[in-house]
């Protein structure tokens, strides 16, 4: 096995990894704030909003991500009446699916974080005159984030690996190019290379979250 061969197969795979990384960034940057909003809705005192948020979480968590991706990529355009306006680029459709799916999981993580915060924190903020928004931003959110960080790290790493599902909706990415090379050259080396690239990506994430956890530690 020559180094030249490895370079040859690695090049398209690294290009595929770009798609993986772009999907990852879009999904993580949009699903975290969206998940946070869903948590706020779920905790809302307005019953219908809370019910909607819980139902959303239940439906998304209760069905396979692959099914959701197929639905967004191929199902949406088949909807009556509005379907023709929902035809979009398959990569965009997949991004939408990932954002919605991960938002539901992040919402649950944040909800757990909120539950872990003592009622006394809200009371202390209230008697000091902080309004709801100030309390959320300055008192609750920083503490919630610390509690949620390990679970968020876990979710993010899962997301890197889930990007391989793009394969099923025929958007070329890292795994797609590996599979192509395997079929063409009759060697499993491309799979090994793909594995190493995934490991590198998750390693970066692992280190990133470790650093974040250290930053959020307050002793």
């Amino acid at each position: 096995m020559s180094l030249d061969y490895l370079m040859d197969i690695a090049r398209p795979m690294l290009e595929g990894a770009q798609t993986t990384i772009i999907l990852f960034l879009i999904a993580i940057l949009l699903s975290i704030p969206l998940g946070y909003c869903i948590t706020l809705l779920a905790n809302s005192s307005i019953r219908i909003l809370s019910w909607l948020a819980h139902t959303f979480i239940y439906v998304i968590r209760g069905t396979p991500l692959l099914l959701q991706l197929l639905f967004f990529c191929f199902g949406l355009p088949m909807l009556p009446v509005i379907g023709e306006y929902l035809v979009m680029d398959r990569f965009m459709a997949a991004c939408l699916g990932f954002v919605i799916n991960y938002a539901a999981y992040f919402a649950e993580i944040f909800r757990g974080g909120l539950l872990s915060i003592d009622k006394g924190q809200h009371e202390a903020a209230k008697v000091l005159g902080l309004n709801k928004w100030q309390t959320m931003r300055k008192v609750i959110l920083p503490q919630m984030t610390r509690v949620a960080l390990p679970a968020m790290a876990n979710e993010s790493i899962t997301l890197v690996k889930d990007t391989a599902l793009l394969y099923a909706v025929a958007v070329p990415e890292l795994l797609h190019y590996a599979q192509t090379a395997v079929n063409r050259d009759f060697t499993i080396m491309p799979f090994v290379v793909a594995g190493v690239i995934y490991l590198l990506m998750t390693l970066v994430l692992t280190l990133f979250f470790k650093a974040l956890e250290r930053r959020f530690k307050y002793e």
Binding site: Q121, K126, L130, V139
Partner: protein
């Protein structure tokens, strides 16, 4: 002007009356200790004064302004304005664990009063010195003992320059050897004529620091008077029983 005026305060949880016909006044500069058995409604009464609990009937006036009149609460903005005249110290301190001691003190003045940062810094430094914790300004609450935490909590409440300070069992969560340092700080505030209502189990402290003692039992004020009257010559059998006289 009377600082706190409570009349016919009433609160029920389901069919249980936790507070009934509670009526008392606190004059400016007065220190009132509230004693009584667990479940007598002392904490609920105190928390109602600063709107952490809502009452179902009666009136509360703070500095002449109505927080609630005959069971009807003022508008939210008025409630905020009235409760901003009070500070509260909790049994479990409720410090913000993600902030340093000094940040704990400065958060509310920065966010709520939007005062000048230098002014806030000089006051927080001064108050930390006052409670004997000047050297802990940069520490996080987790690094402090219970007594130190409670002194930070008192300084944090003082940062907002309240007219009235409420204490909800400030030493109940502390190891016995740490209560002294907290009580010392409260005593000093009493000597500075800050109006205070203190729910406490420390009878010696109540006798020492209070101008007036209120004994609560079963959601009502059973007896009230000077410390000499309550501790020396209580009129009611249940007061005697509680004080084990």
């Amino acid at each position: 002007m009377t600082m706190i005026e409570v009349s016919d305060m009433k609160k029920t949880y389901g069919s249980v009356d936790v507070l009934q016909k509670v009526r008392f006044t606190v004059e400016p500069g007065e220190v009132v200790a509230v004693i009584g058995p667990s479940g007598s409604g002392k904490s609920t009464m105190l928390r109602s004064l600063i709107h952490l609990e809502e009452i179902d009937g009666g009136s509360i006036r703070i500095g002449g302004e109505s927080l609630v009149e005959d069971g009807r609460y003022a508008a939210p903005s008025v409630i905020r304005q009235i409760t901003s005249r009070m500070g509260m110290v909790f049994q479990h301190f409720n410090l913000f664990p993600h902030l340093t001691v000094q940040q704990n003190l400065e958060l509310a003045p920065k966010m709520v009063k939007r005062e000048n940062a230098a002014l806030i810094r000089s006051r927080s430094t001064e108050l930390l010195a006052k409670v004997g914790l000047a050297d802990k300004a940069g520490a996080h609450p987790a690094k402090l003992s219970g007594g130190q935490k409670q002194r930070v909590a008192i300084a944090r409440a003082l940062m907002m320059s309240p007219d009235i300070l409420l204490f909800d069992e400030p030493t109940s969560a502390l190891d016995p050897e740490l209560t002294g340092e907290v009580l010392q700080v409260i005593k000093q505030l009493a000597s500075e004529k800050i109006t205070m209502v203190i729910v406490t189990h420390e009878m010696n402290f109540a006798r020492d620091v209070a101008d007036r003692v209120i004994f609560m039992d079963n959601g009502e004020i059973a007896e009230s008077g000077t410390p000499e009257q309550i501790f020396g010559n209580p009129q009611l059998e249940r007061t005697r029983a509680f004080l084990k006289l």
